[in-house]
Amino acid sequence: MRWLEKFRLSLMMLLRRRTATARLNDELEFHLQEQTAENIARGLSPSEARFAALRAFGNPTLVREEAISYWSWSWLEKFVRDVRYGARTLTRSPGFTLVAILVIALGIGATTSLFTIVRAVLLRQLPFRDPEKLVMVYEHFRVATEGDGFNVVSPADFRDWREKTHGFQDMAAWREYGFDLTGEHAELPEVVAAAGGSWNLFSVLGTPPALGRTFTPEEDVPEGRHVALLTWSLFQRRFGGDASVLGRQIRLDSTPYVIIGVLPRWFTYPDAHVQLWVPYASTFSAKDFDAHDMHQSHVVARLKPGVSAAAATSEVGALQYQIHLANPTKPVAEEARYRPTLEDVVRDVKTPLIVLLCAVMCMLLIACLNVSNLLVARGAARRKEVAVRSALGGGRLALIREQMTESLLICFAGGLIGVLLSIQATHWLASRWEDLPRAEAIHVDALVFVFALGLVFLTAVLAGLIPAISSTGSGVFAALQESSRSIGGSSSRAILRKTLLTVEIALTVALLVSAGLLFKTFLRLRTADLGCAMDHVLIMRYGLPEKQYDTREKVVAFHDSILERVKSLPGVRAAGLISTAPGDGWEGDDVFTIPEHPSSNFQLQYDALVRTVDPGYFTAMQIPLLQGRFFSDRERLTRDHYLVISKKFANQFFPGDNPIGKHISILRMDGNEPYEIIGVAGDTLWDVTEPTKATMYFPILSGIPDQTSEATIVVRTTGDPLGLSIPIQQQIATLDPALPVYDILTIDQIVGKTTASQSFSATLVLAFAALSLLLAAIGLYGVLSYLVTQRIREIGIRIALGARPGQVLQLVLLDGLRPVFIGLLVGLVAGAAAGALIRSILYGTSPLDPAVFAAMVGCLLITAVASCALPAIRAARMDPMLALRDE
């Protein structure tokens, strides 16, 4: 009842405010009339009576205002009045307003976009059941020379862990895999990225299938029943979302598989590229499934209630040490390590994303300082107005509130434009950023708007508070005493502006340095030498299904004939075959021993990349021969126990020794097999962002199914390499119409693909830094112009007394450049700190790269001098007579 009454009252006060005000006037007038009437009754004349009543009453306006102040909504009324007043002041200087709004819009828009992405990618939990209970468990080699210490797991290790330790509720495994996918009758061939998942993977993750079922333990054995799970995207794309695909057959590498289920739409683990799942064990041969030294799997474990991940992992680690001791001659890790699943998914983008977020926040802060600076300047121009209003009884709080409203208006308009920009920008960023994990989870939602609103208020306070407080402070009445003829400007105000400017410059320098380092990294990567021909080279992959190509002869026959056909195409200068082209990834490695350097135990460092090549590969890719010879046509089929090694291999394992004629020995199916080294080739990079690694090249024309059925054709062309892709594909189709080709790329594109993320973050940070530089220049120009206006009379006197233009120029320039120098020093320190923080994503440059620092300092100084020059020149050319007459 009571609150209903209150509600009615407050509604009435809101909607019928005008009437209420009129009524209040009536009420007070009634009182006056009563008093007047009483005074007349006492014998005063009517006019005297009225005056006496007024006297007794006091100030009616004050009474009215005070009464109104108790009404509900009076805060709203005040606010509306402030907004109206603020808007009027702002429209009086549209140039300033527009610049300020745009500056804030850019800052808020960029920050909101990055926040949206960071939240979706880094902060939001994976869409699994109790995702915080999931961890990834890895093997860890004590003497690892490369990598991050999280080594992928061998199938037999995973099986032992799951059977013999009990710290986790359950453990599941998956590995990446690839298939040639065709329809039931070998139609529509395509290469799909797939994954093998253990039967319990989906229950460990807490993902029931959208249709059908997941794998059973009986299916998850080597040579088990051939079944497959489709992801939602493949289900929609290839099967049109038709639920009757359940129970139908598809062919994977020519083997029929039965579709048993479809995963839900949101399931894009481990990434969106994986198109279908098969049982984990079915991706191994029975022998490999029992191997402790074949590392390729990822293990997901769900924590048991009350058992910490560290405790459970240490139990796994203890078991792993036993396995290590039991296999002394093989690369078996000694320990186990874990990390949260979310961290595992986002580890590659975490640092770049945080760097970007910091960069945009830096930019937003600079934007705030800039607006703040502009407001201080306006505050200076309005000093007298503020002083007069304070003298007439305007409360300081009211004046501050009014100025804050102005900055709130700017920030609100800026925020509105910013959010609109950000919706576009987020979309663009998410689609442009290749390999951004969880990109599909990025969308703008209510929380993003709340964040943007928060930013608006934060920037409004940041930008508005300092100018508002400083312009209404205790010294405000001094403005009234300041004669229009006084010489010195208000120095405290200038100091405030210079301080703001110093901070702005420091932030800009830090941002510039980071951007410079990232950009240099990117340039280094783009111009990195892979160690082979990089211009006019086309690559194209194919994989021969082991079902049809089941003998050495069949594999070699295909490789031979495709090479011959490609070489005879017009426009082809040279062609070769390799398992994986330079720059295109790790592919595979193997451990070996050197019979000439016997060692009693397994040593981890005896490990090198494995490639298979045809005799013409090195010449075709212009990789130099350093010693011995390349393969010839003689090293084929079973005469295959020869290898070519890379320069790095020779230096690492045969330092100061001639490797030619020496042997390496690799554990194969039938025991150790020796291979003779016949040549040394130049180094190539397996990834443009990584150092080179010792490499062993074996003859691809051995034709061993499985080991040589994956091949990349590399073609050096005379003209546009991509123009040859169709003719080559046609040649392959003539040989085997059901064989799909994939990864048709130029070497340039491979490098571009690997460096896409670096290029992206470098470009963005550089853009932010450039914007910040522009903002700093505007700020600097603004401050200096203001200072010159303040000192116009002083400069006029100096000129009148004989100061030369050069001296005036120097005076003004130095005044403007002092904050620049201080800011520069602070900024260099901050930049060095920022460089150290982003060290992990730098390549080919150190965090203290002198060239980058020099370039960025130069860049800033030129901008600073340019923006100071205009006001300084104007001051130097000033006509003293005009200056002295200036009011």
Binding site: L24, Q33, E66, I68
Partner: protein, 109 residues
């Protein structure tokens, strides 16, 4: 009689509520009534009366209605609401406690 003493702080609400507890009154009448009953000791300043009336109204303790005075002129009459009556009781009680306490100190010892 010296200069009319200022109202003890915080007691204006109590006086207003009490004054209109019998029948609705307009502002002028409330001021007059307080003056009369207190034998001209308590002078309510108009500057505080009207803000106080509006505050009490916003708090829902009194309700205003426009009607005619005995002389037929329209005026704003304030009446006590149910919650206002409860508030009056509370204020009275606390006033009694306070004045008793002050009396004890002043008269005793």
């Amino acid at each position: 009689m010296g200069k009319p003493s200022d109202l003890v702080q915080g007691t204006l609400d109590l006086l207003i509520l009490k004054t209109i507890s019998l029948e609705p009154k307009h502002g002028w009448a409330i001021a007059k009534r307080i003056q009369q009953i207190s034998n001209e000791v308590l002078q309510v300043q108009q500057g505080s009366l009207y803000p106080a009336l509006h505050r009490l109204e916003q708090q829902g303790w009194i309700r205003a209605r426009w009607s005619e005075t005995e002389s037929g002129r329209p005026a704003k009459f304030y009446a006590l609401t149910a919650t206002g009556r409860a508030q009056l009781e509370r204020e009275k009680e606390s006033w009694n406690r306070l004045s008793t306490a002050i009396n004890l100190v002043v008269e005793g010892a």
